[in-house]
Symmetry: C2
């Protein structure tokens, strides 16, 4: 073909690599085909063949799972003490974030959080006594996720802690989460000072009864509607919850006022929420959990229903592999560190909050919240591209949760480990960063891609079920 002929014919563009180039061509109407350039993840060839042989069956199962996830109707219906409502909860049990782990392998902030909980529960008088008790064998540990619960960062839930009850009204199941303490030196980041425990006691004795009465008066607060609005208002409801917290505040305040003990207490409760733009995180997490739990136990589905980190391991669970955990070492996030701290101080990625990404929110919806990317040095266009890439590894687009800057496209929902392996694209996650030592607290906030190993193992474990 002569060069003259080439330019006389219509241009056909094949774009290798960065999808943003193709998007730009799309926007000016030049037809273009996007080709991923990454080689697939190196998995056992026989397992890859097995998965490819069952592609139709897997797709059908994945459709069933994502239909359930998208149909979920998470609603805040009340607050109770953990011991009274969380299935299997008992006084000597402490729940934690991520996959199962023993005390000896736990990271600093998780140990710190447990020590704080033992002092808060009155079972230890000092950090040393708490550490001794925690290691003694008298305390049992289990993942929140194995008790229909989720917890940010260390994810610690002990018997006396108040929890939100988020009911999935479509499927009837309930998810649980503690109340958000605020930022800085707090239990979930591994701090255990007197002020931390004092705040937790205030939350139990003042905040909890006030919110419980207000929610009882309102009956229910529709979290799905609230999250959908927040995505139109700059939140991705993981690392940015300002809009969702504001909308929740507006919904709750009149009921808090009319059921309140006295005006000063009411003002204290309102001010506690007002001072913490992340208050809603502890509702976006169980809202996501309540939906994803409805998608569990569908044979043949390669869709993830849990991504969670305990600060040592990153764990994945799939709809098609029952209660199995697939794990690998957790990485340290790229982050904006608070003054005086660096990446050397950071604990590896920790917390159940990646349940939001598993549900198509957080890092998957980061195009809705470009301010997050900006604070780690990125641009608004980077945020668009992170979200665009997540469409490559998901099985569905949300019909309610939308991203305004992608012309109100539904969020990428339902991580398909087959796509993760075949395209070698790893889930993008927003996160807070804890100091690696117990007792310090938060040192920053940032973003990272999930590690490869748990997804590779999940793919292989899934392939073996076929």
């Amino acid at each position: 073909m002569k060069i003259n002929d080439l330019f006389r014919s219509d241009l056909k563009v094949v774009n290798l690599g960065l999808a943003s180039f193709k998007e730009a061509l799309d926007s000016v109407g030049v037809p273009a085909v996007q080709v991923d350039w990454k080689p697939p993840v190196d998995v056992e060839p026989a397992l890859l063949r097995a998965v490819r042989a069952h592609r139709a069956r897997i797709e059908e199962a994945n459709k069933k799972v994502t239909a359930k996830i998208l149909a979920a109707q998470p609603v805040l219906v009340g607050l109770e003490k953990a011991l009274d409502v969380i299935p299997g909860m008992k006084p000597n049990l402490i729940l934690h974030s991520g996959p199962p782990i023993t005390w000896d392998r736990m990271c600093g902030p998780m140990r710190g959080g447990i020590m704080c909980a033992l002092m808060y529960e009155g079972r230890a008088k000092s950090p040393a006594e708490a550490a001794q008790l925690a290691a003694s064998g008298a305390i049992e540990y289990a993942p929140c996720h194995e008790h229909h619960a989720v917890g940010p960062m260390a994810g610690i839930v002990s018997a006396s802690m108040p929890v939100f009850l988020v009911k999935n009204e479509e499927h009837g199941n309930t998810a649980y989460c503690t109340l958000n303490e605020g930022l800085g030196k707090v239990l979930r980041y591994g701090a255990y000072g007197e002020d931390v425990i004092k705040r937790l006691k205030w939350m139990e004795e003042v905040l909890y009864p006030a919110l419980k009465k207000a929610v009882a008066k309102l009956g229910r607060i529709d979290l799905k509607n609230l999250i959908a609005q927040a995505l139109h208002m700059g939140d991705e409801v993981h690392n940015r919850n300002r809009a969702a917290t504001s909308l929740l505040y507006r919904a709750l305040a009149p009921a808090i006022v009319t059921t309140g003990r006295d005006p000063q207490t009411t003002a204290d409760v309102l001010e506690f929420i007002n001072k913490n733009d992340h208050f809603f995180l502890n509702l976006s997490m169980p809202a996501s959990k309540a939906g994803l739990d409805a998608g569990r136990n569908v044979p043949g589905s390669s869709v993830a229903v849990v991504m969670a980190r305990n600060g040592t391991d990153f764990g994945v669970q799939l709809a098609g592999t029952g209660d199995a955990w697939f794990t690998g070492p957790a990485d340290v996030p790229d982050a904006l560190y608070f003054p005086g701290y660096t990446k050397a101080d950071a604990n590896p990625d920790i917390g159940d909050s990646a349940i939001t990404e598993t549900n198509g929110l957080g890092g998957f919806a980061i195009a809705a919240a470009p301010a997050i990317v900006q604070f780690v040095g990125g641009t608004a266009n980077d945020a668009l591209n992170y979200t665009r890439q997540m469409y490559e590894i998901t099985a569905a687009e949300n019909n309610v949760y939308q991203i305004p800057s992608l012309n109100f496209r539904g969020t990428p929902t339902g991580i398909d480990v087959v796509k993760v392996v075949e395209k070698n694209i790893l889930p993008f996650i927003d996160t807070g960063v804890a100091h690696k030592e117990a007792g310090v607290g938060q040192v920053g906030a940032g973003v990272l891609n999930a590690p490869l190993e748990p997804f590779k193992k999940a793919f292989e474990g899934f392939a073996r079920t076929l």
Copy 2:
């Protein structure tokens, strides 16, 4: 040049017309030059020559004006009755939106609003009596803008009405605005039923004292900071104020609670704000007015300090032309009409709310609030393009107000009538739509470009000052 040579050399693109094509090329790194295709507005050649001869002087004056506008620090400092604080206010004076107008030329909703105000003030017992009094000559009328005030839609301010006091702490001047009544059948849209007056009385007797005490307790609420946050949260603070209203609510609520008469009254006040996502509009307007007033009376400046409509005429004032109004007929907006209404029911564009666009917000910042464009059938990309176009006719970019989806670029601020005329691009405005008859109320919300005539006249009036 042979075609082979053409394609061997680097491509140089000259784009005529729609700027979005060039933006797409920019995003993939293809150098391109944007050329506007519209012929300039047809103005007297001698005046155009005069302006071009003084270009350096005009630019210097415009820099001075926009520096003042950008440096403004609008802060809510209190609430009072109009009669007690608005300069020149008196019992038989009614302020209205837009440029000066006599009763006989007023549109339906403005007449309706005035009749409502006269009944609210106890000066008339029925609509008929109010209309008679309004036309009798016993009542004086003046634009809000000539009394340091602004009002949405009909913009009616009468003596007993409570107003917000927004102080520009940088320059010392204050702007005034009534409190937002909510949507539907309300005075500002020309409704005057008993329920409208009852609500206004409740606002005077319950809402006003509650807010006054709360603001007094807080001392000041920084509106500039609040607007900057709201632009990161999907508002443009003209037709979308959900985020700003939420943030204001969070700031006010604890103070409303602790200074409140009783819990039920407090809850009623909170619920009134909660039910009206536009509550903040009546603060974004005086915040804009307070900044723009500081830019008035700078000889040689072609920057607009007022765009305002009275429902009959659209009026413009410039920094360089003192108190002169340049007017022309107001157009009917393209809008999403409420069920049962069409464009045939709509009154021409009305209200002082275009002060937000004059300040680089509203339609100028619509890229931050694509949901508004979506409801009149546009896409998120249309919203980006509307804002991009406004950079063509403005003298500055805001250093605090940013648009996330344009990678946090500052909003286009300071409309330069010389650019409007030379580029033939008219300001883009968001707006509510009133029924053209008195007594009905709101029938929709939409967008439109400002009419040409007032800008042509403003250009000519400005050129004559040189």
